[in-house]
C-alpha cells in the first residue's frame, strides 16, 4: 500500500502534516511520538523579526472547538534557522515553513532567506486573523493574494504553498489568484474569525477580543471549501479544519485534498497524527485503494 504523496515537488511519506501554530517546532510532540511517522510539519508561523504575540487570555473553548488569539508569537526567521532546523532535520519528515509579514517586502525577504535554508517548502500565511497589520489584509482579496504571491514567487526557490482564509466571500477566487500568480499548492482553511463573551463579567474572553475558530466545529465548512477549491484550481490542495481522526481525513481527501493538516485535535489527543495515518491505511485496505493519492477526488458526486 502506498501512502506517499507528491505535492508540487514536495514528497511526503504519508499525507499527514502537522498544522502550523499547533505544533511549535516539533520539540514538544516529539516526546509523545516519533516524528518520522508523519509526512511533514508546518512550523509555527514565522515573521522577519521576533514577535511577542497578543495579550492573554489567548484561548476560549467553544462548542466542539476553540478560539485562539496567539498573534504569531515566534522567535523570528533567523532564530528559527539557527535553533530549530537542526532539531527538525534529525527526523525524516518534510519541513514546511509558514511565514507571515506586515508588507510584501517582509514576505519576499523571508522567502529569500528560507530559500537558502535547509527546509522543504514555504507556506505563505495570508490568513492569520489575529494580527493587525498585513497577513489577512493580503489574504482577504484576490488582488492582495496575487500581489504577494507573485512577488514571493520571483524570489522563492522552494515549493510555494499559499494558505487561504475562510473569511472571504468566495474562496475559489482567492485560490485562483494564488494559482495564477505562481503558487504550487494551496492549503485551507485557516481559522474562522469568531468571538466568545463571558456573560458574568460582560467582557470578551479573549484578550484580543476576537480570535480564530478551529476544531471539529469548523469541519463541514472546511470540507465544503476544499471541495469547491479543488474543482476550481489545477494545483494540489492541502485540506485542514477540524480533523480529529482518519474518517475526517478521508473526507477531505475525497473532497479533493492531496494531503491534510491536523492541529487542534492534537491538544486533546497528542497521538492524533500517527493514529490518523494508521487509520487511513485501514480505510484503504477496506475500500481497495492501492495508493492514497487515488482517494483524492474519488468522491462520487
Amino acid at each position: 500500500m502506498d501512502l506517499s504523496v507528491n505535492i508540487a515537488g514536495l514528497k511526503l511519506k504519508n499525507p499527514i502534516i502537522a498544522a502550523s501554530g499547533t505544533f511549535g517546532f516539533g520539540r514538544e510532540f516529539s516526546g509523545f511520538f516519533d516524528l518520522n511517522l508523519i509526512g511533514g510539519i508546518s512550523v509555527k508561523g514565522l515573521t522577519l523579526k521576533p514577535r511577542k504575540g497578543n495579550s492573554p487570555p489567548r484561548i476560549a473553548e467553544t462548542p466542539a472547538g476553540i478560539l485562539n488569539s496567539v498573534g504569531l508569537q515566534n522567535p523570528g526567521v533567523e532564530a528559527f534557522i539557527r535553533d530549530e532546523i537542526p532539531f527538525l532535520r534529525r527526523f525524516d519528515t518534510c519541513i514546511i515553513t509558514n511565514i507571515a509579514g506586515n508588507t510584501v517586502d517582509d514576505y519576499c525577504r523571508m522567502a529569500e532567506i528560507l530559500s537558502e535554508a535547509d527546509i522543504d517548502a514555504i507556506e505563505l500565511n495570508v490568513s492569520c486573523p489575529n494580527v493587525k497589520e498585513g497577513c489577512l489584509m493580503f489574504g482577504s482579496t484576490a488582488e492582495g493574494i496575487s500581489n504577494v504571491t507573485a512577488a514571493v514567487r520571483k524570489v522563492c526557490k522552494k515549493p510555494l504553498i499559499v494558505k487561504l482564509s475562510p473569511n472571504v466571500t468566495d474562496i475559489t477566487k482567492m485560490a485562483k489568484a494564488a494559482e495564477d500568480s505562481g503558487a504550487d499548492c494551496v492549503s485551507l482553511i485557516n481559522t474562522i474569525l469568531g468571538m466568545a463573551i463571558d456573560i458574568n463579567s460582560r467582557r470578551p474572553i479573549l484578550g484580543n477580543i476576537m480570535g480564530g475558530l478551529s476544531g471539529p466545529a469548523v469541519k463541514p465548512v472546511a470540507v465544503r471549501m476544499v471541495y469547491q477549491v479543488s474543482k476550481a484550481v489545477k494545483i494540489p490542495v492541502i485540506g485542514m479544519g477540524g480533523i480529529s481522526n482518519a474518517e475526517d481525513a478521508v473526507e477531505f481527501l475525497l473532497a479533493g485534498a492531496s494531503a491534510v493538516m491536523i492541529g487542534t485535535a492534537g491538544f486533546v489527543n497528542p497521538y492524533v497524527w500517527v493514529e490518523t495515518a494508521e487509520g487511513i491505511k485501514q480505510y484503504m485496505e477496506k475500500h481497495g485503494f492501492e495508493k492514497v493519492s487515488d482517494i483524492t477526488g474519488a468522491l462520487l458526486d
Binding site: 511549535g24 510532540f29 509523545f32 504575540g53 492573554p56 484561548i59 497528542p270
Partner: protein, 257 residues
Amino acid sequence: MNFNGTILKSEKLAEDIYFLRLKSGAIPENAVPGQFVNIKCGNGLDAYLRRPISILRANPSENTFDIVYMIRGKGTRLLSCVECGGTVDCIGPLGKGFTLPEKGEKICVIGGGIGIFPLLFLLERSVEVKKTAFLGFRTKELIVLQEDFEKASDKMVISTDDGSYGINGLITKPFSEYMETEKPDRVYTCGPVPMMKAVAEICIEKGIFCEVSMEQRMGCGIGACLVCACRVRHNDDYDYERICRDGPVFNAEKIIF
C-alpha cells in the same frame, strides 16, 4: 506521558470541591510539587479541551496520586461524575515545579482558595525543614484539607475574607506581619493574582527567594500552542513565556503582574 488513571477514592471536600485519588502509570513516580496533570474530563467533543489540575500529592510506593479540583464549568462538572473504579484520561506530570528547599532551611507557603493544593505537595516533600503555612479562604465552609496542612507544617495560620474562621481578612495581612520579624529562606505562593503580587513584592523588597505558581487558560498543556502566555521581564522589556512548560512555577522576580 498519556495514562489512564483509575479512580480509587473520590470525596466531596466542600461545596463544589472534590478530591480524587488515582492509580496510574508513571505519574506518581515522576511528579514533583508544583506540576500538574492535563485531564480529558468529557468524552469526545463535550468539554473539548483537557483541564489542567495541579497535583496535590504523589505516592510512588502505592502508584497513586491525588488531585483536588473545584467545579468551575462543564469540564470539571463532568469529571465529578466519574465514579470510583472508573478511569480518567490524564497526561502528565507536566510543567516545571517548585525548587525544593535544602535541609535546615526555613520556608513559608502562602496559598489562597484552590491555589493551596500544590503547596501541600511541596510541604510534604520538604523534609528537615521548618515550615509555616498561611492559608486564605473566602469563608469557613470552603476550608479544606486543614488537617493535612497542619500535619505537613510546623505552624499554620488560616484567614477568611468574611472572618467566619481564623483571622478576619486577607491572608496577606498575617503574612506581612510575620515577615516583619521573621526571615524565611524561601517563600512559595499560589492563589489569586493580587495575593501573589503582594507576596512577591514583600519578598523581592527583602531579597527573599520567592516562587509563584501561575494560572492561565491552556490549550495543549505541553508548550506547543503558546496560548497560556505569562508576561515576564526580559532585559528592559517584557516577553511571554508558557505557563504550561516554562512554568507554572516561576521565580517571583521574573513575573510582571
